[in-house]
């Protein structure tokens, strides 16, 4: 297809680019992080969906996968890391602990009852821990969400 022309809207083009180059942050808290590592490794290969470039700094990442138990001590750090990420930024809450406190939800004096208490969450992935397929499903759900955003028309007010 030489000198071909493809027609699309600018929104769709930008979203297509953004959703297929999600850079997650290298950030694991507990056993869910082991599954997250498995998801990124060769067998499940998150890279197939344009989401495998785990960044070692929040400044370059635009997706935070909260994988594991968020203790009260860690919660302040999670919030700080989230604030350091550049807009637009997304959060996947992975596993029961990050969703609603998990096994610590009733008696855990030291566990935050869901990471959504401190940062806004886009996609919840249930499971204890979720299988790599479940995390991939979560990432693909987030990609669908990004594909439907209208970055140019709507003022960016999501995290205001």
């Amino acid at each position: 297809m030489q000198d071909g022309i493809a027609l699309t809207t600018l929104d769709e083009f930008l979203n297509w680019g953004r959703k297929n180059s999600l850079w997650p942050m290298t950030f694991g808290l507990a056993c869910c992080a082991i599954e997250m590592m498995a998801t990124g490794a060769a067998k499940y290969d998150l890279e197939r969906f344009g989401c495998g470039a785990f960044m070692a700094t929040p400044r370059r990442a635009d997706l935070m996968i909260v994988a594991g138990t968020v203790t009260l001590k860690m919660a302040t750090r999670v919030k700080l890391l989230y604030e350091q990420m550049a807009e637009p930024k997304y959060v996947i809450s992975m596993g029961s602990c990050a969703n609603k406190g998990g096994p610590y939800w009733q008696h855990g004096y030291h566990v935050l009852k869901g990471v959504d208490e401190v940062v806004p969450v886009d996609v919840y992935v249930p499971g204890c821990p979720p299988r790599p397929e479940a995390l991939i499903e979560g990432v693909m759900t987030l990609q669908k969400k990004i594909a439907n955003e209208r970055l140019l028309r709507d003022k960016w007010v999501k995290h205001a």
Partner: protein, 190 residues
């Protein structure tokens, strides 16, 4: 064998008051109870006489009447392998303190910090006496029987009502009852 060791400790360290603790269940391991003030001397004796050459763990138990510090020593010498449970009891819940043995066994450093973090026992002469697991501004010692879970920490709600199963809040109710009882008691003292 433990009886021999008890008499050895008593003759080597004056005032150690070593005695054998035998649990009711014969399958469980017997242990040696020593005076908390002499724990450093006893550990020094165990190390210098080469009866034990390693510290495996330090843990603590709150028995309400007293707090027990449990030292698990090991001897990894092939000629004379063995393990020893050494216990010391602290009755003062507020100012309870015991000497550190981290100068003899460096492994004791973190273990003693954890013991302080969870049960509030002060270890005298410890090189780095801070909390190790809980944040530095944490209130209370979580493994104590009379610990009351905080409702808020740094502006975060620990038990948000919307997320709790409020029909089953025995735990919180019990904590509140303990707190009320404590307040009533402290009111009487004043």
């Amino acid at each position: 064998m433990l009886n021999e060791l008890v008499s050895k400790i008593n003759s080597a360290v004056s005032g150690a008051n070593a005695s054998l603790l035998t649990p009711e269940d014969s399958k469980l391991e017997s242990s040696i109870l020593v005076d908390a003030k002499k724990i450093h001397a006893v550990a020094e004796f165990l190390k210098k006489s080469k009866i034990m050459n390693a510290l495996q763990a330090i843990s603590g138990v709150d028995y309400v009447e007293f707090i027990e510090v449990v030292y698990i020593f090991g001897n990894f010498d092939i000629a004379n392998p063995g393990q020893l449970l050494l216990k010391a009891r602290i009755t003062d819940r507020v100012n309870g303190n015991i000497d550190t043995i981290s100068d003899l066994f460096p492994a004791a450093d973190y273990q003693e910090r954890e013991c302080f973090d969870m049960l509030g026992i002060t270890f005298n002469n410890h090189p780095d006496h801070r909390r190790i697991l809980c944040p530095d501004d944490w209130e209370g010692f979580p493994l104590r029987k009379d610990y009351v879970a905080a409702k808020n920490y740094n502006g975060m709600e620990v038990f948000p009502e919307g997320k709790m199963n409020m029909a089953d809040r025995e735990f919180i109710v019990r904590q509140e009852m303990i707190k009320k009882a404590q307040e009533a008691q402290s009111g009487k003292v004043q």
